[in-house]
């Protein structure tokens, strides 16, 4: 188990993306999809659905039009890797979209970029124009467009994202139907995270084996991490999956790490005593990349308060458990802190958060219990006193 943290360079390194596409277009769609399935690649946007299967479902649908959407909404606190990928390796993202388009049979692709990244637009437009031209020269029918968000975290949820693209309030839809059968404008749609698309391209280039050999059974390959907080080396790192939090903290901590929030405001807080046995990945604690490190000078009450305030503001308000639940959790910990409520009130709040998990409509409300319960269970005293 004594595995050192291994840095990997699949995402940012330069490749001949046109060559990869040309060779892929010579192969059958099923063959490429099988490679992606075989590689074990799972979505890097957070939910972790197997990418090859998603492509297969979208491919199997009969429709006059299908769409590829690149999810570049990146709103999860503590995540900033998609921006870096779009800055450093945009052509790989575009090629990944075209590859997906070829596999599922879509002729249009959209990048949904959060408005906070609007400064990327001029260069992205230029790159997209050039790329679209290159596709045309190859007689490969695939055109990429770009759409902007307007400052709503929930629009990163794939169905809310499509509502927003359709010119509506970004309120998540019921699932099923899943986007692969009825997505953008009711057509089969594959929504993929920026990073996922680049990995898929690299798997098309190198075959599934190299990717599959990295990581663990449920978490194959590597992943781009966004490291922030109390660390001497904040930044963006592509690392092989399968490390424990202890190994991670040894590499990135400042020697006084008290807790790590894995997966952003919707993720889990892990306390020092659990670093050793906690694996970063789908068999342990998954993350879309966000790793926020806190040392012993930080108040866990402030951290929880910050996350709850974020969720309360970003809840779309469509369903009651989430809309009212977020407000009540926030008010509740404030009341306990001020002494207006007994500490035992925290147990009631935890029941409420459990209800949110089962009764909320989308992943936002469903994941509020993650930070809430993990911080309260590990740092109850800090919340009360």
């Amino acid at each position: 188990m004594e595995k050192k943290i291994k840095k990997v360079d699949l995402i940012f390194g330069k490749v001949d993306y046109l060559d990869i596409l040309d060779k892929s277009l010579q192969r059958s769609r099923d063959e490429i999809i099988l490679d992606v399935i075989d590689s074990g690649l799972r979505g890097r946007g957070g939910a972790g659905f197997p990418t090859g299967l998603k492509w297969k479902f979208a491919k199997n649908e009969e429709a006059d039009q299908k769409y590829v959407i690149c999810n570049a909404d990146e709103g999860e606190p503590g995540t900033f890797k998609d921006r870096e990928i779009l800055t450093e390796a945009p052509e790989k993202v575009l090629a990944g979209m075209a590859l997906c388009g070829y596999c599922i049979g879509a002729t249009e692709g959209y990048i949904y970029l959060r408005m906070e990244y609007n400064f990327l637009l001029p260069q992205l437009h230029e790159q997209i124009d050039a790329f679209n031209k290159q596709m045309k020269e190859r007689n490969f029918e695939f055109t990429i467009f770009i759409r902007s968000g307007s400052g709503a975290y929930v629009c990163g949820e794939e169905t809310a994202l499509m509502e927003s693209m359709e010119g509506k309030r970004g309120e998540p839809r019921n699932k099923p139907p899943f986007p692969t059968s009825q997505g953008y404008l009711g057509k089969p749609t594959s929504v993929n995270n920026v990073e996922t698309l680049v990995f898929a391209l690299m798997i098309a280039k190198e075959g599934p084996t190299k990717f599959k050999e990295m990581g663990t059974f449920d978490s194959r390959g590597s992943k781009v991490f966004s490291v922030s907080g109390d660390t001497p080396t904040p930044g963006i790192y592509e690392l092989e999956l399968g490390m424990t939090l202890e190994q991670f903290v040894e590499e990135f901590g400042d020697g006084d790490t008290k807790a790590v929030q894995v997966g952003g405001a919707s993720g889990f807080c892990v306390a020092r005593k659990h670093f050793k046995e906690t694996l970063i990945g789908f068999e342990g604690i998954p993350t879309g990349g966000s790793m926020m490190i806190f040392n012993s000078t930080r108040s866990m009450y402030n951290i929880l308060h910050d996350y709850l305030e974020f969720m309360e503001e970003e809840s779309c308000g469509q369903c009651t458990p989430c809309r009212v639940g977020c407000q009540q959790l926030l008010k509740g910990i404030e009341a306990v802190k001020k002494g207006n409520k007994q500490p035992s009130y925290l147990e009631e709040l935890q029941k409420l958060s459990d209800t949110m998990r089962i009764a909320s409509k989308c992943g936002l409300g469903q994941s509020v219990p993650n930070p809430f319960n993990s911080i309260i269970n590990n740092f109850r005293e800090e919340i009360i006193y």
Binding site: E74, G75, E76, P77, G78, T79, F80, R83, R114, M115, E116, Y117, N118, F119, L121, R147, S148, G149, S150, G151, A152, Y153, S164, M165, E166, G167, K168, R169, G170, E171, L185, S226, V227, S228, G229, D230, P234, G235, I236, A265, M292, R298, N302, I303, D306, Y307, F310, E313, E314, C316
Partner: protein
Amino acid sequence: MTRIEEFVKEQAEKHGRDRNSLMPILQAVVQSERFLSEEAMVAVATELDLSTADVFGTATFYTFMDTFPRGKNIIRICKTITCHMKGKDAIVDTLEDMLKIKLGQTTTDGKFSLLQANCLGWCHKGPVMLINDEVYPEITPEKAVEVVSKYLKKG
């Protein structure tokens, strides 16, 4: 036709009159006017053949689509935990002092609005602020004053 109506019509011609052009058109208005006036929303509704309530309902969902006047330059300071830890409060205090306004307000000359925002995606380089579309990572109170002064000169 008023100036706004004309602008909206131009945008509708550029983006198309389908419902899925609503966001790009509203975004173009916000980009140019910094907010969505009643006049603008009625114009958009007319161009796209939607009800005004529907346009208003959509716009008010989004944090970056203000329906009341904002300053010519909108300053957004990230308030999420890691920027908080790196000292965003000092930036807010400094700019409140400099501009003589509180968070959420606009200067009387209409040049600046000072707001906070949720995670701007620069946690490794906090604290960070956004002025309109420009990003300023790793700012200090001194740097913030320097940057805002530049916008002040530009008018």
